[in-house]
Symmetry: C2
Subunit: 369 residues, 2 copies
């Protein structure tokens, strides 16, 4: 399955507006280095702060999901009002979500000692960790500053405060998830359950926040039925976020490389303890488990023989089927929650933005790349 | 001059309430490590997370100033209403300010590679930089979460959002100030003007935010006169923050050590380019300037002869008098702004909380330790 033309068009249409909003925020009140370094991270300029015309600034998944949820929620309130609605009231939130995501990437790259992202040196690899930590802190605050501009776009203070609270609660979950992830590095007793809890904080929380937040821009939480509806949106985002991450884990092992057409195995070579590996470690027979533990404790480069050995062990224990079953389970639960948020299957079918969200979500859990 | 009994009593009375509020926030929704590590940073537990009964958890200057400004502003609205006012509506802000201050300390210690603070290992020295960066991020978010609880204490959403905006704008200034400070390390062309701009972001911004924020809890900014009054509070905080920092610079060189009774010179040995040193570098005759630049470019330990040489150069160029004149200038401007905020000298004399704030401020710029 490939990304459909409609998803590509949707992502592209919104991406420009989101980028414009972030650019305006970064152009306000910063010194030239801070603006330049953050613009570098977003892929807009090179390391001498000269504009890049063909840069890759990311697919902006989270803000696009927020904008679709916003339009979908408007459509629920009044059929026909959503699809062509003015996005202005939701753009501050959308920009904020993308900025929060990127602040966390800047800090994650430092914490994980990753020197490259999307084929370019990371911010810290160019300017050192001290300045990069501080630049990440700045971006986090700019994300909040962007969010408050919802008030200038006509949102009542209560709503903006509610959105701010949602972003903060989500950010706390992000740090707890990131801490769990770092702690797992030295721990070979991590169970699939512990892993799911970790990715719930580290990955699913921000996706859940995106769709709930988008809906919250449109829906007064104090009005009848809206509180329950907002929880449906939140549940949808949480479940699809989990499915998305697990699909990522599967592709990190069995995704076919463009070059050879064979499974990449890249997460095996990186000794990443993703869900399939943890499942096998938990379920393998004692002798196999011992051999795997030995391999995952080592720091030597993984040989092709060892890689094949792990691949075979995953196959034998049914790790791929287990992971795919989990991803499917989350997808199913997510789409059910989305249907409920829409007001039933018929309402969903008549709600174009939520239909797009449905399609995008299905893609996220079924994609091959 | 020593700290008066009244200041000590004021600081002590409020410190307990502030600490209690922060403790409650840290007890909500964190995992045991995160709660423990942050409690360690605050000086409440040791590195095995066992309670410390006689710990030093800081003087809580910023939240105390916020609480005094809050009570002082209530007193302006209605004489007699401030001094014994319920602090509950202002405690979320007060706790938040102390948490923001401490999140920035956790990150500064990482960025400056400082292994100790107040005689204890820093958070990163115990648990590594990756986890410490993330713990700082978490504390920053908890500071926001604490702030929103103002709504539970009866503040309208508009006011809480206004406070949140103030904290965010201040936090942006903090990161810009910290970036300037880090950039100055490799730059010997820093002028006193550039330095003042840097400490305005790094030190004065949060003190200004504290007093303005405290007043904002009491004063509706939309009511007549209040906007101007809030700016008086902000200006007061900014100026006293600058004076406080410059006094710190003076004490870092000429503060008498308890042991020997002689000037400590500690900032000279650390090659800290604080205001007196920058003044001398800018104003020394070419030959002296060259010699000083040579010394400040080196990475070797500073010898006692070199230390004496720098002390003499500072003396010769009048660096101490210059710095003290600057500190006094800021103190004067600060107290003038505070008088204006109070509604004139007579009103200030009849406003006990603002009188305490006046006394505390004077102490901050005149203290000998």
């Amino acid at each position: 399955m490939t990304q459909t033309a409609e998803i590509t068009a949707t992502l592209g249409r919104y991406a420009g507006l989101i980028e414009q909003t972030i650019r305006a925020e970064l152009a306000t009140g910063l010194d030239p280095w801070m603006q330049g370094a953050l613009s570098y991270h977003f892929g807009w300029v090179d390391d001498t702060f000269q504009p890049i015309t063909n840069g890759n600034s990311g697919k902006k998944l989270r803000p696009v999901m927020a904008l679709l949820a916003y339009q979908g929620a408007l459509e629920i309130l009044q059929p026909g009002a959503g699809e062509n609605a003015d996005l202005a009231p939701a753009l501050p939130l959308a920009a904020s979500l993308e900025m929060i995501h990127n602040y966390s990437l800047i800090h994650d790259d430092i914490e994980d000692d990753d020197r490259a992202r999307h084929g370019r040196p990371t911010l810290w690899a160019l300017w050192g960790k001290p300045k990069a930590i501080n630049a990440g802190d700045c971006l986090d605050m700019l994300a909040y500053r962007a969010l408050y501009r919802g008030q200038e776009k006509g949102l009542p203070a209560e709503r903006v405060l509610e959105l701010t609270r949602l972003i903060t609660d989500t950010s706390v979950r992000l740090t707890l998830g990131q801490h769990a992830d770092m702690s797992f590095e030295d721990n070979l007793e991590v169970t699939p359950e512990m892993y799911l809890k970790m990715i719930s904080g580290k990955s699913a929380a921000l996706i859940s926040c995106s769709v709930k937040g988008g809906a919250l821009v449109a829906l007064d939480p104090a009005a009848p039925d809206n509180a329950a509806r907002l929880e449906d949106f939140a549940r949808f985002g949480e479940q699809i976020g989990l499915g998305f991450q697990i699909r990522d884990d599967i592709l990190g092992i069995w995704g076919l490389t463009a070059k050879t057409g064979k499974p990449s195995g890249s997460d095996i070579r990186r000794r990443k303890k993703s869900l399939p590996v943890l499942y096998t470690l938990t379920n393998a027979a004692p002798a196999l488990r011992e051999k795997l533990l030995h391999l995952y404790r080592s720091n030597d480069p993984v040989t092709p023989e060892q890689e094949q050995f792990v691949m075979d062990a995953l196959e034998e224990t049914g790790a791929r089927e287990f992971a795919q079953a989990q991803a499917d389970r989350f997808k199913f639960a997510a789409l059910e929650a989305l249907t409920q948020a829409a007001g039933g299957e018929k309402a969903l079918a008549n709600n174009p933005p939520l239909r797009k969200l449905h399609e995008l979500s299905t893609f996220l859990v079924e994609r091959d790349y």
